[in-house]
């Protein structure tokens, strides 16, 4: 007996069920909107229009999505190796330090296209090193990675606060942030792509890191399903005993997977720091690491799913901001509630509707149930 409930066809598994979950999340959110005395349909329209209606909205949505693609990929890579990296937040935050060092040193001398690769390397390196310590403690000392990565989030936050109110702050400034970068560390915007489709954009932060995120999504797919290292990570993720039997070193695989995860988390910092604010400021990550967990879960740990889920969350961020602006009764906190509902239904309660969908399929056509989703994720 393998599975008590047989599997659904792939399209239902990857398409229909997430859609149902999302719909339910929005219905429940609609009730909340009714509770505060607003019209939920108008709210929905404002939200979607805010995110996709105008060129500027789309650009903002994709800007947020960029951030979530990185953190989602980071969480997914660790998860494929059976590790729950909750430290994405801290790894991204501390990576801001690496970027700051590169940008502050070179923005006067190098053009952006030379600074950018250096900053990519620095952010990845710092993020990876920040993940290395919890990974080492897990592999060698058995300290649980969930606990240590959470603690490392706090340590990262403390270090960054210290640096941003002290050594990294220009002497004359009052704000806890670095000096603004010069042109040599400002990334080009991508708004022209959206303008190609005829939309008008006022000013939006969408920048070349979006393309980097898509490249990374492809590389992660390649890593997980097409390389020997990915094979070893998946083996360990499914069965540490089988990995031991196969001669895969536990220490090596945990450390490697966590460092890759940390590097991806670190690269997230490029988007707001070099693409938008042009400085490193306090709390620039602002929860994107945790959203990455939801994105990875909702994307079912597959890069394509993660890109789609990241766009969804980008939409919630951007559309939510519009909504808070347009409907005074709906505050910023309400938006967080709606986002929370999406996480609840799409992530945590992922399997709630599965049995019903399966029963429905079974009554239509008994043969389709039990048909294995033979094409396991992407492989």
């Amino acid at each position: 007996m393998s599975t008590p409930y047989a599997k659904l066809p792939a399209w239902a598994d990857y398409g229909l069920i997430p859609l149902i979950n999302l719909l339910v999340a929005f219905i429940v959110a609609g009730f909340v909107v009714v509770l505060v005395g607003e019209n939920p349909f108008r709210a929905a329209i404002i939200l979607v229009e805010g995110a996709f209606g105008k060129g500027t909205g789309i650009a903002f949505t994709l800007f947020y999505a960029t951030t979530f693609i990185f953190t989602g990929l980071s969480v997914a890579v660790a998860a494929h190796c059976g590790l729950f990296n909750i430290g994405t937040e801290g790894q991204a935050y501390i990576a801001g330090l690496g970027i700051a060092i590169v940008c502050l040193s070179f923005d006067t001398v190098l053009p952006w296209w030379l600074t950018f690769p250096l900053a990519i390397a620095a952010s990845a390196l710092v993020g990876a090193l920040w993940a290395l310590i919890p990974a080492y403690l897990q592999a060698k000392r058995g300290s649980h990675i969930v606990i240590t990565t959470i603690m490392f989030n706090f340590i990262a936050a403390s270090i960054m606060v210290y640096l941003l109110v002290g050594p990294l702050k220009p002497a004359a400034s009052q704000a806890p942030q670095t000096r603004n970068f010069l042109a040599g560390a400002e990334l080009p915007k991508l708004n022209w792509i959206i303008e190609l489709f005829g939309a008008k954009i006022r000013s939006a932060p969408l920048n070349v890191t979006f393309l980097l995120a898509l490249v990374m999504a492809f590389l992660v797919w390649l890593l997980i399903w097409r390389t020997r290292l990915g094979y070893e990570m998946r083996t360990y993720g499914h069965s540490p005993k089988a990995a031991r039997y196969a001669g895969i070193s536990e220490t090596r695989i945990i450390i490697t997977a966590m460092m890759i995860s940390g590097a991806l988390a670190g690269m997230m910092a490029l988007n707001p720091v070099m693409g938008d604010q042009h400085n490193v400021a306090i709390d620039f990550v602002s929860g994107a690491g945790f959203v990455g967990i939801a994105v990875a879960l909702m994307g079912r740990l597959h890069p394509i799913g993660i890109v789609l889920a990241a766009i969804l969350f980008g939409m919630l961020y951007q559309g939510g901001a519009e909504l808070a602006f347009e409907m005074p009764a709906i505050s910023r906190d309400m938006i967080v509630i709606i986002q929370g509902l999406v996480i609840l239904f799409a992530g945590a309660l992922e399997h709630m509707f599965r049995p019903y969908v399966q029963a429905l399929f079974a009554s239509f056509n008994p043969r389709s149930v039990g048909m294995e989703a033979v094409k396991e994720k992407g492989a």
Binding site: M1, R226, G247, P366, G370
Partner: protein, 510 residues
């Protein structure tokens, strides 16, 4: 004519292209023990899963107690008095026996009442059927045989009149299996109906009243057990004559390939499981290690194959030592020509969530044949997997199918194919035919003997005495972590049985 407890009429079930059950008709008489046998993948578990509500038939009718029944979920089955004991137990390890039994069948919101009621009910069941288990024992601390009794108690507690057991003896020691059969007989005397799936034809002969044979999804025959023989059943299952005991010539033992000296291994709790063991395996011979499960065989295999750290002693492979400090890398041992078929194929030998072809390189994924630089050479891997599927007749022959969807015997063939096809100098095999059908047993035994005849050193550990006796050129008996005797293959089962029970050992100690 006695009344039918269950009637199945025209049951069909397909998984994609695989027709697991076709037009199955079966009648199970109330108050009997009904055996079902068949090759791996014949569709036995599928049929029982349909009866228990895990799967739905594509078409066909189920009647329980003469009335048509619609069984959509296991709860429907339980309501109809059908209980099932799974091969892989579904117990909560850190709950007590009592808590496990009432789990999901609590009669009251307050646990206290349910527990009191359950306790008296359990007492009654224990008395009636000889199902002794301490109700307050924690399940994970119980041996497998007792855990299985908890599963049976669970079913009876829910009012099961019909009990389905899917390969219940695969994990049991012979003594535990005997006890299980006593329990089953008592259940029958009390008027319960038992459906028993097993690959061990001897068990079928010993305990069932009627036996049905399945082959490739169809029901090919139903016989009164008294009127059939093991040979006939084997032939019905496989569709040809089966050698129940593979013939082999004299061994031509050559140089020592594997030598174990004064090996001592402790388990994670610090208990000595392998106690100062020494032996050798030569090229061209099969050495069998007999013993009741849990006497250190598993730890011995794990230490030799580099998975578990040894406390002291030495192991030499081709005259060169193996690092036993736990730093030993099973991958390095593979490179040196030591292949290992582990006892636990589900958690160690295979990754069930992988596609078949991904498992066919597990442990050999460093081999340049399967790689293109840092990338997997997917085409080479799949071609190679397809070759093995053909050569070892693995069914269904789809290398992209998820491994969990292969039947037990075919999963075992996946592991064997992988390890044997690497052409190792030394092959160590734990429980080569656990859960495997007679046809596949014959095949696997032939392969092992062929390996021997090619001059490989083969070490086999099995709890099946029959298997040890028909394969081995020399038999070592393990008891309580020690080797208590070495015998030839002609030794009687009785003598080996006594050695395995530690009888001679105790006498010697006196």
């Amino acid at each position: 004519m006695a009344q039918a407890a269950i009637e199945l009429n025209g049951i069909n079930k397909s998984f994609g292209a695989v027709r697991a059950n076709r037009d199955i008709n079966l009648e199970i008489t109330r108050g009997t023990i009904h055996g079902i046998v068949g090759e791996n993948g014949a569709g036995k578990s599928t049929l029982m899963s349909i009866l228990y509500g895990f799967y739905q038939a594509d078409s066909g009718e189920i009647r329980v107690g003469g009335k048509p029944a619609s069984i959509k979920t296991p709860n429907d089955a339980i309501a109809l008095g059908i209980g099932m004991v799974h091969q892989h137990f579904m117990l909560v390890d850190n709950f007590s026996v009592l808590e496990n039994v009432i789990l999901g069948a609590e009669s009251d919101a307050l646990l206290k009442k349910s527990i009191a009621k359950a306790r008296s009910e359990l007492n009654r069941l224990e008395r009636e059927y000889g199902l002794d288990v301490d109700p307050d024992a924690i399940v994970e601390e119980l041996p497998v045989g007792l855990q299985q009794r908890v599963e049976i108690l669970k079913a009876l507690y829910r009012g099961a009149e019909i009990l389905i057991l899917d390969e219940p003896t695969g994990v049991l020691t012979p003594a535990e299996a005997d006890h299980l059969f006593r329990i089953l007989r008592q259940l029958k005397e009390q008027g319960k109906t038992v459906v028993l799936i097993t690959h061990k034809l001897r068990e079928i002969m010993a305990i069932t009243d009627t036996v049905s044979v399945m082959r490739q999804g169809t029901m090919v025959a139903t016989r009164e057990t008294k009127k059939t023989t093991v040979e006939e059943l084997a032939e019905l299952m496989v569709g040809r004559r089966v050698l129940l005991r593979v013939e082999k010539g004299e061994a031509a033992a050559g140089a020592v390939k594997l030598s174990v000296k004064n090996l001592t291994v402790r388990d994670t709790r610090g208990v000595t499981m392998v106690d100062d063991i020494s032996f050798e395996v030569r090229a061209g011979e099969i050495v069998g290690i007999a013993g009741v499960a849990g006497n250190g065989q598993s730890e011995l295999l794990e230490a030799i194959s580099g998975i578990r750290r040894a406390v002291s002693g030495s192991v030499m492979l081709d005259g060169k030592p193996i690092d036993l400090t736990g730093a030993a890398d099973p991958g390095e041992l593979r490179d040196r020509g030591l292949a290992h078929v582990p006892e636990d194929r589900h958690h160690v030998g295979l990754v069930l969530a992988f596609e078949e072809n991904e498992n066919s390189i597990l442990g050999y994924h460093d081999d340049p044949r399967y790689l293109k630089g840092p990338f997997l050479n997917i085409d080479a891997i799949r071609d190679d997997a397809r070759d093995k599927i053909a050569k070892y007749d693995i069914r269904p022959g789809d290398c992209r199918l998820k491994t969990a969807n292969f039947s037990g015997g075919n999963q075992q063939k996946i592991v064997l194919a992988r390890e044997m096809e690497q052409d190792p100098g030394v092959l160590i095999v734990g429980q080569p035919t656990r859960g495997v059908d007679v046809g596949a047993i014959e095949f696997i035994h032939k392969r092992l003997i062929a390996m021997r005849d090619q001059g490989k050193a083969v070490l086999v550990v099995s709890v099946e005495l029959d298997e040890i006796r028909s394969l081995s050129d020399r038999i070592l008996v393990m008891f309580a972590g020690r080797i208590v005797g070495e015998r030839g293959p002609e030794t009687t089962e009785g003598e080996l049985g006594l050695l395995m029970a530690g009888v001679e050992h105790q006498e010697a100690a006196l």
